[in-house]
Symmetry: C2
DNA sequence: CAAAACATTTTACAAATGATAAATAATCAT
DNA sequence: ATGATTATTTATCATTTGTAAAATGTTTTG
């Protein structure tokens, strides 16, 4: 499975670890807008985007809010549930047609005991994700919406394929405000 | 060292691991406002607050911004540097007189190979920190400043001992706005 | 293709927050 | 204790962002 090229580039896995991990990894293609995990569930799956794009979303006062985007070879987990066992008010959705690798987290965490290299791999992956989250705080805390938008445009060209309404809430502003910003920039 | 009561409550350590870890752990007391780590350094230390309170801060357009507070038994690290090896534009400062445990990170990471239980302990500690960071994004992204302030007041009574100017920037607003919010609430 | 559904922009006005400056209040150092 | 320094509040005005509603543009589907 192609995902191991990516994994091995982070932390090299023994053949045994690789085959143990392969047994709990599933590849699946989702349609545009298809919900991958519903709001209210417990997060028991670690996802990676093989191809396409997905988002983590929730509702606040009836409004759909995008908390996170994941693009090619990026992780998607609802950490506040995965690492606590509590249910989460967030869901996961494919934004466009996307192929996603899924790893059952309970099985994964069991492998940690036997396969030190798997524990290390996922430690490194989550550390990276933690760093991304800290960077996102920096931008939400004191950058203007315009600065945040400009920054987001830099991250990946794929942004062009994502509806503005998702981008607006991700930036912490309304769609109307984002539209205004864009008019301003031109 | 008392820190091991705390560590063992997260993941039980073998006596060997405990003594290896004890050898790289230092306890030190800092004065009010004393800088623990300067801006611009590389983060090569994992800190825990034994007693008191510290903050992570940086300057944006000449303004002092508090990114993070840590209270009793909480971790302080500048993740964007610790996990990448890059220098950081953030510093660490004791807000009041505080006793802090420091663990040299290079030595710590070396212990991971020999002591699986230490790697696991710190994996769990950082996962917890990651979850906190995600929760902070939730609050910065779509809660009003007033809601964020109310939420912060709930977290710990120690907040009362922290200057408002630090709290304002932590909430992502100016000191003047925070003052207004407080007047409003009364 | 055309109607329906969905997405984006525009407008007008309201509310929240920022910037600056000045007035008080609290704390610190000698 | 007292003068100096630092912290907080208040006031005024400017800017940003929100809300609501309508106009325009785009995509989907029968």
């Amino acid at each position: 499975m192609m995902i191991f090229d990516f994994f091995n580039s982070i932390n090299n896995l023994s053949p045994e670890s690789q085959s143990a991990l392969a047994q709990i990894t599933i590849e699946k293609t989702y349609k545009k807008n298809e919900v991958i995990q519903n709001i209210g569930s417990r997060c028991k799956t670690v996802y990676f985007v093989k191809d396409g794009c997905a988002r983590i979303f929730y509702y606040k006062d009836g409004n759909d809010i995008t908390e996170h985007f994941s693009f090619e070879h990026e992780l998607i987990v609802r950490a506040e549930s995965l690492f606590t066992g509590k249910p989460t008010s967030k869901g996961i959705q494919a934004i466009n047609k996307s192929t996603i690798w899924s790893i059952d987290s309970e099985s994964l965490f069991k492998l940690y005991d036997k396969h030190h290299d798997i524990e290390r791999l996922f430690r490194l992956l989550f550390e990276k994700e933690y760093v991304n989250t800290v960077k996102r705080i920096e931008s939400l805390q004191f950058m203007s919406a315009k600065e945040r938008y400009a920054e987001l445009l830099q991250t990946t060209d794929y942004i062009q394929k994502i509806p503005l309404k998702y981008i607006a809430s991700y930036l912490g502003i309304t769609q109307v405000s984002l539209s205004r910003l864009r008019a301003d920039i031109r």
